[in-house]
């Protein structure tokens, strides 16, 4: 029986990246995946939703702005099946890509359910009901990730009460949908369904949409989505739900207490967060109070030689942070002189329209930390490129430390912001100050100029506002 240097349980953005990195280091590696390589991200998360959102944006533009571009047509319609199918095709293609990468890097890709076993063994159950097969390995990395978390009074039923996974493959467009949770997932689906004409309600306990974002950005997004037709109920809690034949009736009331009301909709999408998925026989592994695996500074769990990375270790539940952790964990695993790094600075993106992207501290956090900071802002309405492409909603907001000019955070709302944030991420990671951004020539006309101008604005140097 083969002895592996590393067996990775889970083939998502943490797991497959860990397996490939270890293989690059010359290790003998297997990756166990119970469904399909690529994990939630690639199959049921980041990627297929981006495909859906592109469709939605295109459709929305044609419906509402065709005339702006001098387009006219008699009957614009869409084929829901094809909308969903395109999204699935993208996932299929990328999942195949991961399998190719496994082959290329000589990673043994094992389809089945992974679990721990005694004495440096890992079990894999290839089919339901089959006997566990034992594999021997020096190290294990658990990257089993998360699934959507339901509400106690509103369990998933896969049809009327659904999670994001079901939401992206609905057999037909719902007439109405209520989304509980205004985080990135809830907001993206709100945009998506609204763009196609579904009546959308969003219920959020906290007082803004995208509560982790800078308040100014959240407010701008709420305003924009409301204008697009989404009905947003912030500072609102769901107290009761009734699932009937026709749909779901939610009872909501102000979070601070007050008169309750009801929302009826065909479908209820619960997007309040995620819950960890552990491998089999993980009882010995120490978990935190929310069920996530506790790891040390080398990503090792309470069981020696069993490591964990990605969503299974807790927030921020992002593909890109999971991949980063996986690489750090693997490098530390096979190089004892290497001190693995932990996720510090990372960008966060929401792909509705207008897009939202951010990194670093929000202005609220700066205030809370009692930092001396400057704010620079630049609206896309003053950007030549944004106007030229008829997408000038939003702004760039950058927060700069008063004393040393350190970039404390950046918050962008507007088309292309999820791409623009990379510049700030690099600048912050390299500890550039506002001077380096100001001193960098940004191509004209680009949306990226807005970053330059916002940075300059913090010191009153902006030219175009």
């Amino acid at each position: 029986m083969a002895t592996y240097d590393l067996i990775v349980i889970g083939g998502g953005p943490a797991g497959y990246v860990a397996a490939i990195r270890a293989a690059q280091l010359g290790k003998k590696v297997a990756c166990i995946e119970k469904e399909r390589a690529g994990g939630t991200c690639l199959n049921w998360g980041c990627i297929p939703t981006k495909a859906l959102l592109k469709n939605a944006e295109l459709y929305h533009t044609l419906v509402h702005h065709a005339d702006d571009f001098g387009l006219s047509f008699d009957k614009l319609s869409f084929d829901w099946d094809k909308v969903v199918r395109r999204s699935r095709n993208v996932s299929d293609k990328l999942a195949g890509g991961i399998e190719f990468l496994f082959k290329k890097n000589k990673v043994d890709y094992i389809r089945g359910t992974g679990g721990l076993a005694a004495n440096g063994k890992v079990e894999v159950i290839r089919e339901e009901g089959a006997d566990p097969e034992l594999l021997t390995t020096e190290n294990v990395l658990i990257a089993t990730g998360c699934v959507s978390r339901g509400l106690p009074f509103l369990p998933f039923d896969g049809e009327k009460v659904i999670g994001s996974r079901e939401a992206m493959v609905l057999p037909k467009q719902p007439k109405s949908i209520t989304i509980i949770g205004a985080g990135a997932i809830g907001i993206e689906f709100a945009y998506f369904f609204n763009a196609y004409g579904t009546e959308v309600h969003v219920v959020e306990m906290q007082d803004t949409v995208l509560p982790i974002e800078d308040n100014e950005v959240s407010a701008a997004l709420e305003k924009s989505l409301t204008k697009q037709g989404v009905k947003i109920h912030t500072s609102t809690k769901t107290t009761h739900a009734e699932v009937g034949k026709k749909g779901v009736t939610l009872t909501i009331e102000p979070a601070a207490g007050g008169e309750s009301s009801t929302i009826e909709s065909e479908i209820c999408l619960v997007a309040v967060g995620v819950a960890p998925v552990l491998p089999n026989n993980a009882e010995q592994i120490k978990l935190d109070d929310r069920g996530y695996i506790v790891t040390d500074e080398r990503y090792q769990s309470s069981v020696p030689n069993v490591y964990a990375a990605g969503d299974i270790t807790g927030p921020p539940w992002l593909a890109h942070t999971g991949s980063y952790e996986a690489i750090q964990a693997v490098e530390g695993m096979f190089d004892s002189s290497y001190t693995p790094k932990k996720v510090g600075l990372f960008p966060a993106c929401t792909y509705c329209h207008p897009e939202v992207a951010s990194i670093g501290l929000t202005e609220e956090a700066c205030k809370e930390k009692d930092l001396a900071y400057r704010v620079g802002k630049f609206p896309f309405a003053a950007s030549g490129r944004a106007l030229a492409v008829a997408d000038s909603e939003g702004f760039v907001k950058i927060l700069i430390d008063e004393q040393y000019g350190e970039i404390l955070g950046a918050h962008i709302i507007g088309a292309g912001s999820t791409e623009l944030i990379a510049e700030i991420a690099l600048a912050m990671n390299l500890e550039a100050t506002h001077e380096e951004i100001e001193a960098t020539i940004h191509a004209h006309p680009t949306l990226a100029e807005a970053i330059h101008e916002a940075t300059s604005d913090a010191f009153g140097h902006a030219i175009h506002i």
Binding site: Q403, Y404, A439
Partner: protein, 438 residues
Amino acid sequence: MATYIKMPKLSDTMTEGTLVKWLKSEGDEVTIDEEIAEVETDKATMTMPTFEEGVIHRIYVKEGEAVPLGAVLALVLEEGEEPPADADTPPANETDSSSEAEPPAADSESGPGTPAPASPSGAPDKPAAPVSTPSGGPYSLPGPVTGDGERIKASPLARRMAADQGVDLSRIRGTGPGGRIVAEDLQFLAGGSGAGTGIGLLPSPTPTGDQTLPLSGMRRVIAGRLLESKTTIPHFYLNIEIDAEPLMTLRAQVNEASLANEGPKYTVNDFIMRATVLAAQAVPAVNASFQGDSVYQYGEVHLSVAVAIDEGLVTPVIRSAQAKSIRDLAGEMKELAGKAREKKLTPDEMQGGTITISNLGAFGIGHFDAIINPPQAAILAIGTISKQPVVDAHNQIVPGQRMWIGMSCDHRVVDGAIGAQFLSELKRYLENPVLLVS
């Protein structure tokens, strides 16, 4: 080819220079790289080399004169060359602070093939153009380098923090990729914690091997003058022991009275200065200079006092010291020493001394022999005052306070008996210190 020598830019901040001393005279031949003058900059006195070969035809700037950068100092002609018609008057001064003075008229008429910048002003120093930073940002700091000129890898933020905190980046151990210094490394410094993490200040660069230290202007001058002194002046040395008990007693009384009236506090050196002046007046033969074919005896005592500063040694001069009370001497010395440490002494204040005092008593030195400060003929070497068992007038061994004073004399001017006479006068004054304050 007639060439005008101009005031060069010898330091980055220099805007004018004082021609301290001409090392060449009109008619002297000079060769390339030969030192022709001493120039006082804002930082130090430096020797100025010429980049010309020829004969100094005319000197336009007198010793002691301060002139702006680019000012014409002298005219050098090639051997046998006819001076230009206007050689007696210097061309209009180039006061361009960039020091990249245009060649003078006589130069520009020379034919092709003439070696380019003929004036020394362009050559010895770097162009004064501001160093532009690669990033070109309005506030960008230039990238720091180590002592070896190696670029220090540091994040822009870390650089700014270091500049702000006055931290030398070459002493920081970077913890970023490839040893890059990142902000955390400086935050660690500010926090002062993190023991055992292996980050933080590297030890100060202590020389663990041989190293070559370039000569400062001041060091160059010290080296030149003292070598000249020790190799051309026949030194001899005298030592005398002083009973410092009366001096210390009187000083205590004087200071008590002075401080009570918000007057100055007198140092031992103040008393020694006054005693030296009085002794030099009593034995004027030591207050003199050997002049080759004569001895020049000064009518006044201009007292040079050696002052150690970070960069070396300077000897400011108290002029007409014989006319000054101990209080005047003390006040003036304090002012001069302060200026010396701030490098603000003018050439005038460092010139024209007739006798020098060097006092190493504060360092606990018992006695030592000093090198004469030319063109003077004598220098005093003052040792520390220490408690000693002494034999008193009743042949009893009692505790006393003693001080050694050494004297180095130029034997061409001062013979042993003269030096001894001077020292015994000095001893008389110091042991009867009331004479110094009267």
